[in-house]
Amino acid sequence: MSILINRYTRVLIQGATGSQARFDIKYCLEYGTKIVAGVTPGRGGEHVEGVPIFNTVDAAVRATGANASAIYVPARAVGEAIDEALDSGIGMLLSLAENVPRHDAARTVARVRRAGAHLVGFNTNGLISPGQCKMGGIGGDRTDAIYASGRIGVCSRSGGMSAEISYTLKQAGLGVSTAVSMGGDPIVGLRLVEVLRMFEADPETDASVIYAEPGGTHEAEVAEAVRSGQLRKPIVAIVVGVFQERYPRGASFGHVAAMIQSDADSASAKRQLLEQSGIKVATLLDEIPDLITRALS
């Protein structure tokens, strides 16, 4: 099993005729993702890599039974695109563009929650349930070299670090149930603690690896959920960005969200918080497989 997407997921691509979408559609189809439709208003009737393009999400859903959407429209149009998908009853959304205007992001996430849907992103490279389905650019042209199928959940703000973690696991003979790149914008849909609750409930996930960086309150929520016993499966974290504490507050180095605004936001503070809750914390990626193996034995 897996979380969020699996072999039965029927994927729709909004903004399917743009160059990044075309690039990703090719690799997703090669991987085996069931991409059943694309939507670009005004381009209905065309095809991208053999995938039929529709003018509206509604038409695409009625014709193909799509139940998940990967949204490739530019940041300024993301709010509208997600509203359109929700209106057609799509329950799983992936939003790739970065720098979505903050007010749009907040309103959109609130609407998604009200609809009971799941949004991964903004500013994500996607998610993958290895061997079953991937959405977004995750894995690129060498998905199998990076993501092996297995029983470890991966969740990270950074798409690149999702890959590095999964690759490190694979080299140690471990595999991934689902890897979720949550997105690097300050406001995102699914929160880290929500993804971990899904892993907790998934009978085919034994443990999780998370990537943490300065900024935001995701890790504090995770630490609290572990302390209160909501999360019982082992979690290993890698915390990066310690160097940022050498520079002035308010400076943002990686993701815009990776900004130290208060002492609780720093990598060292997060490391301490996670360790105190019982989560094992790695400094180097190479330490992760060992920590996982020991936690599971």
Binding site: G160, M161, A251
Partner: protein
């Protein structure tokens, strides 16, 4: 982007909010003329340095004086330097007779918009938050429903506002939230929000930061973007400005480039991997000359500009091109950028250490480019980010000898 006081007040005035009259002045003479138009010679005006820096009051950059004395006071404030910048503009405003000073702010948490109110306005709010956190009342705002009148009333009630002031305060709060939202602001702080001795309301101190990502909805803001500030408010360096220019000129995601004082140039990508590699360079005993985080681009132009900025600095003694497994971008475009810059600058790659960790689409093409430059260490498939960081730190150390880092430290 932080708007200066004249601009933020103009936006609030436009929607009918009670903002004191005021105008921008560029000289002491102009300040004096404006002051006399606002108030009689014995009446008071406020003269403020028009700068993005906070806490101007503490730096002596805000003064209230008789309008007859405006020229003298303006000349003094124009002689100040705040946050590395000479004061060049003033804001001349009618003085307000203050009865009560309150605090109101809108900002974002990572869940959505929030509002903070307090009766302790007109002072440093961080100090208030530290000494008596209960004096601040926080509330999440539902971004779909917006802020409703009764919710605002409840906040001021909880903060302890006198009953007869609550209707006025809550109406003002709702209108200011609408201004915050409609102007795509990330932050709007009113400190102080004033009740005058005549019983009117006045929005006296404003700090407004608008969302750069929403500039497309507000073309008028573009003109006044202050793009000269680096981390911690320091001015941008020449190289940082060059990269900013390239960001505007060429397509694709923005490159973040921040100059630091170490010796290892970093052309690294990935919001997470760039942080990880920076940690690792320090871990292995090196010091980054810069931080970068670049996004995939359809052409090499932005990476060329970034590499030029990195290699322009004489302190740079080695270069790491390090990326996580590329999943969206082409490796060869990155190596084309390196090729262009190495050739243009006639860099001897046998003497200048370069480590490349670049795996993904078009990797064979990228390796073919690297092979044309003897000495470039393009790591074999599967090498870790940690190995790449260790390799460049060691290569620079071997080339320079152990004394290099201490020598560098003095510059």
């Amino acid at each position: 982007m932080r708007l200066l006081e004249d601009k933020s007040k103009a936006l609030l005035r436009q929607v009918g909010l009670p903002v004191p009259r005021g105008e921008l002045a560029r000289s002491a003479d102009e300040a004096s003329r404006l002051a006399q138009a606002l108030a009689g010679p014995d009446e008071r005006v406020a003269i403020k340095a028009l700068v993005a820096a906070g806490r101007r009051g503490k730096s002596g950059a805000v003064a209230v004086c008789k309008s007859a004395e405006a020229a003298e006071v303006a000349a003094r404030i124009l002689s100040l330097t705040l946050d590395h910048k000479q004061v060049e503009q003033l804001y001349i405003e009618e003085a307000i007779d203050i009865a009560d000073e309150y605090y109101l702010a809108f900002a974002f948490g990572d869940l959505g918009p929030r509002v903070v109110v307090s009766l302790r306005g007109g002072v440093d709010i961080e100090a208030v938050a530290h000494e008596s956190p209960k004096a601040l009342v926080n509330h999440d705002i539902d971004p779909v429903e917006g802020l409703r009148n009764w919710q605002a009333a409840a906040l001021w009630d909880q903060a302890g506002a006198p009953s007869d002031q609550i209707p006025g305060l809550s109406a003002l709060t709702v209108r200011l939230y609408a201004a915050f939202r409609d102007n795509d602001s990330q932050m709007l702080e009113i400190n102080p929000l004033v009740r005058t001795t005549q019983g009117d309301w006045a929005v006296v101190g404003t700090m407004m930061e608008v969302d750069d990502n929403a500039l497309f909805r507000h073309p008028a803001w573009q003109a006044q973007a202050d793009e000269t500030a680096g981390p911690g408010g320091r001015p941008l360096t020449l190289g940082e400005r060059q990269v900013e220019e390239a960001n505007k000129r060429y397509a694709g995601g923005a490159t973040r480039y921040i100059e630091l004082d170490g010796e290892i140039g970093l052309l690294v990508s990935g919001g997470g991997a760039s942080l990880y590699q920076h940690d690792l360079i320090l871990h292995y005993g090196g010091r980054p000359a810069n931080h970068t985080d670049f996004s995939p681009t359809p052409t090499p132009d932005k990476q060329v500009a970034t590499l030029e900025a990195i290699l322009d600095r004489p302190q740079v003694r080695g270069l790491l091109v390090g990326c996580n497994f590329l999943q969206l971008a082409r490796c060869d475009i990155m190596m084309q950028a390196l090729e262009i810059v190495l050739e243009r600058r006639s860099v001897d790659t046998r003497k200048f250490p370069i480590v490349v960790r670049l795996f993904g689409p078009y990797e064979p093409e990228a390796r073919a480019i690297a092979a044309r430059f003897p000495g470039i260490n393009y790591l074999p498939p599967g090498a870790s980010l940690a190995q790449a960081c260790e390799a460049i730190v060691n290569a620079v150390r071997q080339r320079d000898g152990p004394s290099s880092s201490s020598r560098e430290h003095k510059t």
